[in-house]
């Protein structure tokens, strides 16, 4: 009966973001919010684990004023309660600030057997939240999990690495970050959506976390975010025969390591 906690981030839906062609700056004025993709997998994984083993799932999120929009979305996906921190510092937080805040909150919230995160957020994709939280809390950390199970007090995970798969088992409280292929997040049924408003949420104020001002100062400062436009290579093969063109194309692709 594991007590699970899922940390999630409320990000902008990248589909709604437009890239201004003049200077490649981003226009996010019409972008709606969403739970970061991999975090959705983390929430789903926690919900599945609890459905199988019993126990309960809490959720925790740290963001700006928009974070309140995420609460019912989160609660419709399985968690029983969501803790939320809404603070201006989240606006330019780097991975260290995020981890400081989340770890401090977790210390306040209580003991969890499993703390789940997405492998990386859909906006920044630093992939540091899980390992930093684990370090701050003095807990083991398992990353790149694409399979997870829980028995007794032991978590068993399969890690997908670049050229192999690793089976890991960890006893006791552990922080795990999951890949998107670990599961397919449920489509909340209407009853689950409507049931979300009956579940509790609790605000945690940054001021109550006992953090020093420097803990909330980002060490990596974001200077600008620009769109990336894929430039076409526009290479035309004009050999006399189709066979020659294919040969040239093949050679070109091979030189780029593509075939």
């Amino acid at each position: 009966m594991p007590k699970c906690l899922v940390c999630y981030k409320w990000t902008l839906d990248e589909q709604d973001i437009k890239i201004k062609s003049e200077d490649l700056s981003l226009d996010s004025s019409r972008a709606k919010g969403k739970i970061s993709d991999f975090d959705r997998n983390a929430i789903e994984e926690a919900a599945l684990l609890v459905e199988k083993n019993g126990g309960a799932v809490d959720a925790l999120t740290y963001g700006t004023t928009t974070v309140k929009q995420s609460l019912k979305d989160c609660l419709s996906r399985g968690p029983e309660k969501v803790y939320w921190i809404s603070d201006a510092t989240a606006g330019n937080a780097d991975a260290s600030v995020t981890a400081n805040v989340l770890a401090a909150a977790i210390r306040k919230m209580g003991q969890y057997d499993l703390i789940l995160c997405g492998e990386g957020s859909s906006d920044q994709f630093n992939q540091q939240t899980a390992s930093r939280i684990a370090a701050l809390l003095g807990l083991p950390c398992v990353t790149f999990a694409n399979k997870l199970s829980y028995e007794g007090e032991t978590a068993k995970a399969t890690r997908k690495l670049e050229d192999c798969q690793e089976e890991v088992s960890v006893k006791g409280p552990v922080v795990i970050s999951v890949l998107s292929e670990i599961n397919k997040p449920r489509i909340p049924s209407l009853k689950q959506v409507l049931g979300a408003s009956k579940k509790p949420n609790e605000e945690i104020k940054v001021a109550d976390l006992g953090l020093k001002p420097e803990d909330l100062q980002p060490k990596a400062v974001r200077k600008s975010v620009k769109g990336f436009v894929m430039q076409r290579k526009n290479v035309i093969y004009k050999e006399s025969s189709a066979a020659d063109n294919v040969a040239k194309l093949k050679a070109s692709l091979a030189s780029e390591g593509l075939c």
Binding site: Q69, K72, D73, S76, I187, P188, S189, L190, K191, V193, L194, A196, S197
Partner: protein, 377 residues
């Protein structure tokens, strides 16, 4: 005045869109090509509570309200308007039973309808000039045993798949429409004969057929609402249905304009994407505008329905608007996609055929303009 959806409504819409992407998008083309009733999809819809969306919790419904309902229909229609038709016709039947049914009738039918085990159909139209009048009109003769039904109903959606039909018959041919009465008829009642499935231009997969009633004996308990109270019931139910159907039109139109815009951005003629041409911009802009205004109009009508306020005029307005401008959405987006878009390997032809099946003026004696004019003059 708040034009925004509530959080729940927004999340319900998100679920509907995700459902559409996962369950409808992969089957939409084949469903249109073969027209086979999508049983698995209907089961999945039930599992996600879409079939009981409007029904109260005590019968297993989600009680999510009408604004959520039209949001769902719009989102499903973006992927398959045919499936949205199945849901709409089922829901109108369930809504009618919920609103006018006795406690027993509600207990008998609604839990199954919420679970998707029992699909609903709504049998109002006839081949004659108006329900209650004409050679084949459905007549319900009062007898000792209850009522005996003889006659024909036309163009019943979900025909052959529904387990229960809300049927309108006249108890007195001399009085015609004035004696229209609603009944609940189970599909397995003796004498209920579903005719051959009709070939529709689009919305294929939602079956349409005539139903013949041959000495169908109904007990008193099959009466829905008051004797001769059918006209009022069908008027209200059809007004609700027209708002639901408007959501289909908007969903189809939205999908079409998005596809046409994406096409225009990459189709290069005269050295530039055709999206840079004012001619194309005009076509896209008009469709996007009509879609947007229709959405606002139908949401307003939906809110009135949800709040139990008078809504019939607003419902008639949205129907009138889309009867005039609904098909134009696809006439114009198909124009943007030109020759390429005319191929059935592209999606707009299916959407063109589907949208033409929404907002049909099925009651020629009762154009929406009549009700609108009556409200102001």
């Amino acid at each position: 005045m708040n034009f925004e959806l509530t959080e729940e409504q927004r999340l319900i819409g998100q679920s509907a869109r995700d459902f559409g992407k996962e369950y409808l998008e992969p089957i939409a083309v084949e469903l249109d090509a073969k027209g086979e009733f999508p049983k698995k999809v209907v089961q999945a819809l039930a599992k996600h509570d879409f079939l009981g969306l409007l029904l109260p919790e005590d019968v297993g419904g989600a009680a999510a309200g009408f604004v959520s309902y039209v949001e769902v229909i719009e989102d499903l229609s973006r992927y398959s308007a045919a499936v949205a038709s199945i849901v709409n016709n089922h829901t109108i039947a369930a809504y009618t039973i919920q609103k006018w049914g006795t406690a027993d009738q509600k207990k008998k039918y609604l839990p199954g309808m919420a679970k998707g085990e029992l699909l609903g159909g709504f049998a109002i139209y006839e081949h004659g000039p108006t329900p209650g009048v004409g050679p084949d009109t459905l007549v319900a003769k009062k007898q000792d045993v209850g009522y005996v039904l003889n006659g024909k109903k036309a163009f019943v959606r979900n025909a052959g798949e529904a387990g229960v039909y809300v049927v309108f018959a006249t108890t007195d041919p001399a009085l015609g429409a004035k004696a229209l009465t609603a009944f609940l008829v189970k599909s397995d009642a003796i004498g209920v004969k579903v005719g051959e499935k009709l070939e529709t231009m689009g919305l294929k997969g939602c079956p349409v057929a005539d139903i013949t009633f041959e000495n169908v004996v109904l007990p008193e308990t099959a009466l829905l609402g008051a004797v001769n109270g059918g006209a009022a019931i069908s008027a209200t139910a059809l007004a609700v249905a027209s708002v639901a159907e408007a959501a289909q039109t908007v969903g189809i139109g939205q999908a079409a304009v998005e596809h046409a815009a994406a096409y225009a951005k990459q189709r290069v003629q005269f050295g530039k994407p055709v999206a840079t041409l004012q001619a194309i911009q005009t076509l896209l802009a008009e469709v996007a505008t009509d879609c947007h205004l229709a959405r606002l109009g139908l949401r307003n009508a939906a809110l009135l329905i949800e709040e139990g306020k008078p809504f019939e005029v607003e419902a008639a307005m949205i129907k009138s608007f889309l009867a005039r401008l609904g098909s134009k959405m696809l006439i114009d987006t198909c124009q943007v996609e030109g020759g390429f878009g005319y191929s059935e390997t592209m999606p707009l032809p299916r959407l063109f055929r589907d949208i033409a099946g929404t907002n049909l003026l099925d009651a020629p004696g009762d154009f929406p303009e009549k009700l609108i004019a009556a409200s102001i003059a």
